[in-house]
Subunit: 177 residues, 2 copies
Amino acid sequence: MRKLLNHELERKTVEQFRTSEKAPFIIVLDNVRSQSNVGSIFRTADAFLTEAIYLCGITSSPPHREIQKTALGATESVTWKYYSKTADAISELKGKGYKIIALEQTDESVVLQNLHIENDQRYALIFGHEVNGVDQEILNKCDLCAEIPQFGTKHSFNIAISVGIVLWELNKKRLPV
Amino acid sequence: MRKLLNHELERKTVEQFRTSEKAPFIIVLDNVRSQSNVGSIFRTADAFLTEAIYLCGITSSPPHREIQKTALGATESVTWKYYSKTADAISELKGKGYKIIALEQTDESVVLQNLHIENDQRYALIFGHEVNGVDQEILNKCDLCAEIPQFGTKHSFNIAISVGIVLWELNKKRLPV
């Protein structure tokens, strides 16, 4: 088995990325504290051709040294916007017809593998603060909650890992193989 | 939708974790540089009740301040071993009947969604260095390679994100819903 060289990976240029049809998911970060997590989420969003990232509240925006360290250039390809209030981002997305899904452990959460994705629908996926999760006021505005089932001692994925698993799973549901 | 409180999450104690039946996956880290990635992988391995993590070569072992920062205690629950040479870990695992799968972009890689998992088989999953990937000498010893398809400008997931996606997907294949 021979490792592929960089020029064999069929990587898009930033220009090709921008003009490509995107996966219909907008990642909304509700007061995420760590810039290193934000950068890592940009890198994952690039890999999955994600429509956009909305950075809300205390979430830092590019350009930022700590974001760049983990984004490794993906802040140039992935579209992003900043909102001082997460609620404003959600109102705007609802107005545009997006279905709003929070990733959070609640009394009504659907497990990720059972989350149904419609092919003609766009989605906003809300991820919350590293310790406090998605704000209750924001949860009240969501159409539904989903969670990744966990079986260990912690029951708290790192937010960047959660984004990776959710984008993988929803893209697969959208384009089944 | 009401957020669950910590005591409602049915988190295992370390003792319950250790005596629980594990998912038959051993994560082998081949010369992983970043302690923060190692810690994050412990946390994810805990969530998916993973059998063990094998830390090889330059990969740091617990206890280590930077590992603890991202593992958040998961080094207490998840079984781990250190090997100075990755090849020794693989020889031992082969001897015990594990099937060896490297996560790497090669000319023969199977895309993750097409990777077939047998229910009576145990697996070692090899993840490599953040920049150089899995060493070619190690690839030559693997039964097969798998890769997560990527569609953006980078074609390089963070290793901790890759571990999260792979453990999610293989656990789902093993216990379909």
